[in-house]
C-alpha cells in the first residue's frame, strides 16, 4: 500500500495478514472490491488511519502493506 494521504483505491487483494486482524477487518466491511482511503499517518512510523464505508480505523503500517489497492 503506497498511497499518499487522501488517496483512495479499490482493494485488490489482502494476503499474508494476521488472521485475527483479517477477521476484524472483514467485520468492519474491509474486503476485496471495497473502496478504501488513506487518511493519515501516525507519529514514529505508527499506525495509519484508513477509511472504509465511512468508518475510520487505524492499523499498523506493516499490516496495511498487505492490502493491495488499485488506485482509482
Amino acid at each position: 500500500m503506497q498511497l499518499q494521504p487522501g488517496a483512495a483505491g479499490f482493494i485488490h487483494k489482502i494476503e499474508g495478514m494476521n488472521p485475527i486482524l483479517r477477521r476484524r477487518l472483514a467485520d468492519l466491511g474491509v474486503s476485496e472490491g471495497v473502496n478504501i482511503r488513506l487518511k493519515g499517518k501516525g507519529p514514529f512510523m505508527g499506525p495509519i488511519t484508513l477509511e472504509c464505508n465511512g468508518q475510520l480505523f487505524a492499523i499498523r503500517r506493516k499490516e496495511a502493506s498487505m492490502i493491495e489497492v488499485n488506485v482509482s
Binding site: N18, I20, L21, R23, R24, L25, A26, D27, L28, G29, S31, K39, G40, K41, G42, P43, F44, M45, G46, P47, T49, N53, G54, Q55, L56, F57, A58, I59, R60, E63
Partner: protein, 670 residues
C-alpha cells in the same frame, strides 16, 4: 418475568439505550468493549429485564468480551432481542443483524443515530428495510432518549412481538450440510434454533464448538463441516466455509442496502476530518497529547482542584470538628469516645475527604476525553511507542482508566484481542497511579514542592508509566516469547459530550471513592486510631508506646536504607495494602494532626525532600491493593500470576526507592 437481550456493534449506543429503558443506571463509555460483563436492568414499565451484552461485530468472538454474547445466546434463552443498528453504518451493522435474525427469536431493530445519519446526508427507507428483514424497525436517538417511549411500549408485551421467520439460502452445498447437522442436533436438549447452531458451527465459532463438545461427541458434526468445505473447494466456490457464508451474507446485505439506502447526498464528516488533521497529525499529535495531559494535571491540582480542596479542608477542620467537639462536650462523652471520634474518625476520614474534589475533577476530565472520541486517537498515537515495548496501543486506554482505579482498568483490558497483550496489561496495571495514591502525592507535593505541585505529581504518574513500559519490554521478552501483537482500532467520529452523561459517568467512577471513605477508610481509621491509643501499657498511652509503634518498629529497619525508617512510616504501609486511601488517614492519626496544615507541618519535620520522593515512589510501586489483587486473580485465573504481580511490584518498589535515596545521598542531596 421476561428477559430481553440488547445486542449490537460497539459504539452504536447500546448502553445509552439501556440507561434510558431501565431504571437502574450503568456506566457509558465510548470505546469498543466497554461493557465488559452483561448488565441487567429492570425495564421502566416493569415488563421485564433487559440484558446489555458487550458490543460485537459478529457472533464469532475475537476477544474475551465478545465471547460473552455468543455464550449467552446459546446457553440462555431470552424471550426477545433488541438489535441496535447504527444508521450511519448500516451495511457493516447488518452483518450481525443477519446472524441474530437466524437465531429465530422475536427481534426488534432499533435504528439508532438517525440524526447523525441525516446530518451526513444518509437517508434510510425504513419501510423497505422492515419488509426485507421481516422485523419491526424503530427509529431511535438513544443519546437524547428519542424513540425510547415507542420502544418501551412495544416491549410492554414482549410475547406479542412476532417470531422471526428469516431464512437466507446459502446455496445447495451448504444447505445440505445444514440439514444433516440439524438432524444430529435433534438428540441434544436445550439448544436454541437448530439452523442457527448449525450455521454457527459451519462458521467455526469456537464458543459454540466448545459448548457442543461439552454436551456430545462432535466428531460426526465436524466431519459434516469438513466434507462441506472440501466440496466448496472442489467446486471452486470458496476457499473456506466461513468465507462462503460471509460472502453470501454480504451479498444479501448489499442488495438490501441498494434498496434502502440513499447516499446520493452523503457528505464527509467534516468536523472529525478537521480535528483529526490536527489531533492525530504525525508531528503535532503527540506534543498536543502531552500538552493535554499536562493541562489535565494542572487543572486537577493547581487551577481548580487545589482551591476546592482547601475549602473542604477548611470546613472539616473548622466548623465540622469544632461542632463535633462542642457537641461531644455537651452530651458528656467519655474521653475514649471523644478521642475516637475527633482524632480517629474525623482526623482519618476527613484527611481523605479533602482529596475528593481533585479526584472528581480528574474523573470528569477522563470522562470528557472518553466521550469525545479522543481516547481512541490516543491509542493510535501511542501505538508505535507501545509496540516497541511489546504491547499494543489499545492497552493505553486501560492504563488511563488505571489512573482512576486499577480494578475497572484491569477489566477494561478484556477488550484487547490477544491473550498475551491482555495478560501484560493486567500485570502492569498496578504501576498506574490510581486515585487512591493521589492523596499521598498531593500531600507530599504541597509540603516539599509547593511551587511545582502539578509537576511533582505528574512526574510520579510518568514514573509509573516509564516503569510499566520498561517492565513490559522485559516481560514480553522473557515471559511471552514469539507472540507478536496486532493493533486495530475503530475511530468513532468526534462529538461534544453531553453534560448529563458526563456528570453521570464522573459520579459513577467517583462514588467508589466516597463509598470507600465511608467503609474501609472509616473502619481502617478507627482500628489504626485504636492501635495508636492502646499499647502494652494500657489505654491512652503515649503514641511511642502504642501497639502501632511496636508494629511499625518491626518494619522500620527494613525501610531504613530507603530513607524513611521510622515506625510511623512503616505502619502506614501495611494498611495501605488493604486500600491505598488509608495511607493518608493513617498519617493523620499517627501524627496526631488536627487538620491538613498540621499534618503538613509534621511531615515537613520528619521527611526530607529526598526521603519524600523515595516514599512517594515506594507508595506508587509497592504491592497492588487488595481489590486489585482480587481482580488480577479473577482475570488471569491463576495464583501464579497473581503472586507474580505482588512479588515483582514489591521488589521493584524496594529497589527504586533504594536507588533514589542512596543515589540522592551520594549526589549530596539529603
Amino acid at each position: 418475568m421476561s428477559s430481553i437481550a440488547l445486542v449490537g456493534n460497539p459504539n452504536t449506543g447500546k448502553t445509552s439505550l439501556f440507561n434510558t429503558l431501565t431504571t437502574s443506571y450503568e456506566y457509558v463509555g465510548n470505546w469498543s468493549g466497554v461493557t465488559v460483563e452483561k448488565k441487567i436492568g429492570n425495564l421502566k414499565n416493569g415488563a421485564g429485564k433487559l440484558i446489555d451484552l458487550p458490543g460485537i461485530y459478529s457472533l464469532h468472538p475475537l476477544s474475551r468480551d465478545e465471547g460473552v454474547a455468543a455464550q449467552y445466546l446459546i446457553e440462555e434463552s431470552p424471550e426477545a432481542l433488541i438489535n441496535i443498528v447504527d444508521a450511519s453504518q448500516l451495511e457493516r451493522n447488518l452483518l450481525l443483524t443477519l446472524q441474530l435474525l437466524e437465531y429465530g427469536k422475536p427481534t426488534l431493530i432499533g435504528l439508532n443515530m438517525i440524526d447523525v445519519a441525516n446530518a451526513r446526508g444518509i437517508r434510510i427507507n425504513q419501510t423497505i428495510l422492515q419488509a426485507r428483514l421481516g422485523v419491526t424497525v424503530l427509529p431511535l436517538i438513544a443519546r437524547t432518549g428519542k424513540g425510547s417511549v415507542q420502544m418501551l411500549s412495544v416491549l410492554e408485551e414482549s410475547s406479542a412481538i412476532p417470531a422471526v421467520k428469516f431464512k437466507l439460502n446459502y446455496g445447495e452445498v451448504v444447505e445440505r450440510a445444514i440439514s444433516s447437522i440439524e438432524k444430529e442436533l435433534r438428540s441434544i436438549k436445550d439448544l436454541p434454533n437448530h439452523r442457527w447452531v448449525a450455521l454457527q458451527l459451519l462458521e467455526q465459532n469456537p464458543v459454540i464448538l466448545q459448548i457442543l463438545k461439552s454436551r456430545t461427541d462432535i466428531t460426526g458434526l465436524l466431519n459434516i463441516c469438513e466434507a462441506c468445505q472440501s466440496e466448496l473447494q472442489i467446486k471452486k466456490l470458496a476457499l473456506t466455509l466461513p468465507q462462503w457464508i460471509r460472502s453470501n451474507r454480504m451479498e444479501y446485505i448489499r442488495s438490501i442496502c441498494d434498496d434502502v439506502l440513499d447516499t446520493s447526498t452523503q457528505k464527509p464528516h467534516n468536523l472529525t476530518e478537521r480535528l483529526d488533521s490536527v489531533l492525530t497529525h504525525r508531528f503535532l499529535g503527540l506534543p498536543l497529547f502531552i500538552f493535554f495531559m499536562y493541562a489535565l494535571f494542572k487543572t486537577t491540582f493547581d487551577w481548580v482542584g487545589g482551591p476546592l480542596s482547601d475549602i473542604v479542608d477548611g470546613l472539616i477542620s473548622g466548623p465540622i470538628s469544632d461542632g463535633t467537639n462542642s457537641l461531644l462536650q455537651t452530651i458528656g462523652a467519655s474521653n475514649f469516645t471523644h478521642a475516637l471520634i475527633v482524632d480517629g474518625i474525623i482526623g482519618g476520614v476527613g484527611g481523605v475527604l479533602v482529596f475528593v474534589p481533585q479526584i472528581f475533577i480528574l474523573f470528569l476530565i477522563i470522562s470528557f476525553l472518553e466521550d469525545s472520541g479522543y481516547m481512541a486517537r490516543v491509542c493510535l498515537l501511542m501505538d508505535s511507542t507501545m509496540e516497541r515495548m511489546g504491547l499494543n496501543g489499545k492497552a493505553f486506554i486501560p492504563f488511563i482508566i488505571g489512573f482512576g482505579c486499577n480494578v475497572p482498568a484491569i477489566m477494561a483490558a478484556r477488550s484487547i484481542e490477544q491473550p498475551k497483550d491482555r495478560m501484560l496489561t493486567t500485570l502492569l496495571m498496578p504501576l498506574m497511579s490510581c486515585s487512591a495514591r493521589l492523596p499521598v502525592y498531593a500531600l507530599f507535593a504541597v509540603v516539599f514542592f509547593p511551587e511545582q505541585q502539578a509537576f511533582a505529581v505528574l512526574s510520579m504518574y510518568v514514573m509509573g508509566i516509564v516503569f510499566a513500559l520498561i517492565l513490559c519490554k522485559v516481560f514480553s521478552k522473557y515471559l511471552f516469547k514469539n507472540e507478536s501483537s496486532v493493533f486495530i482500532i475503530e475511530l468513532p467520529p468526534y462529538r461534544m459530550p453531553q453534560i448529563k452523561t458526563l456528570s453521570r459517568s464522573t459520579w459513577e467512577k467517583g462514588k467508589g471513592f466516597l463509598r470507600k471513605a465511608g467503609t474501609i477508610i472509616l473502619a481502617g481509621s478507627a482500628i489504626i486510631w485504636f492501635m495508636s491509643y492502646a499499647g502494652p501499657g494500657g489505654f491512652d498511652v503515649e503514641m511511642d508506646h502504642s501497639y502501632l509503634a511496636k508494629f511499625g518498629g518491626m518494619i522500620a529497619p527494613l525501610l531504613e536504607p530507603l530513607g524513611f525508617g521510622t515506625w510511623q512510616a512503616g505502619s502506614t504501609l501495611v494498611p495501605g495494602f488493604l486500600a491505598k486511601e488509608v495511607v493518608v488517614s493513617t498519617m493523620n492519626i499517627i501524627y496526631h494532626a488536627p487538620d491538613t496544615a498540621g499534618l503538613e507541618n509534621q511531615i515537613s519535620q520528619v521527611f526530607t525532600p529526598l526521603s519524600a520522593i523515595s516514599f512517594m515512589a515506594f507508595i506508587l510501586l509497592y504491592i497492588p491493593c487488595l481489590a486489585t489483587v482480587g481482580v488480577i486473580k479473577k482475570e488471569t485465573a491463576s495464583w501464579k500470576w497473581t503472586f507474580f504481580s505482588i512479588g515483582y511490584s514489591l521488589a521493584l518498589a524496594y529497589i527504586v526507592s533504594f536507588v533514589i535515596f542512596q543515589g540522592g545521598r551520594l549526589l549530596g542531596w539529603s
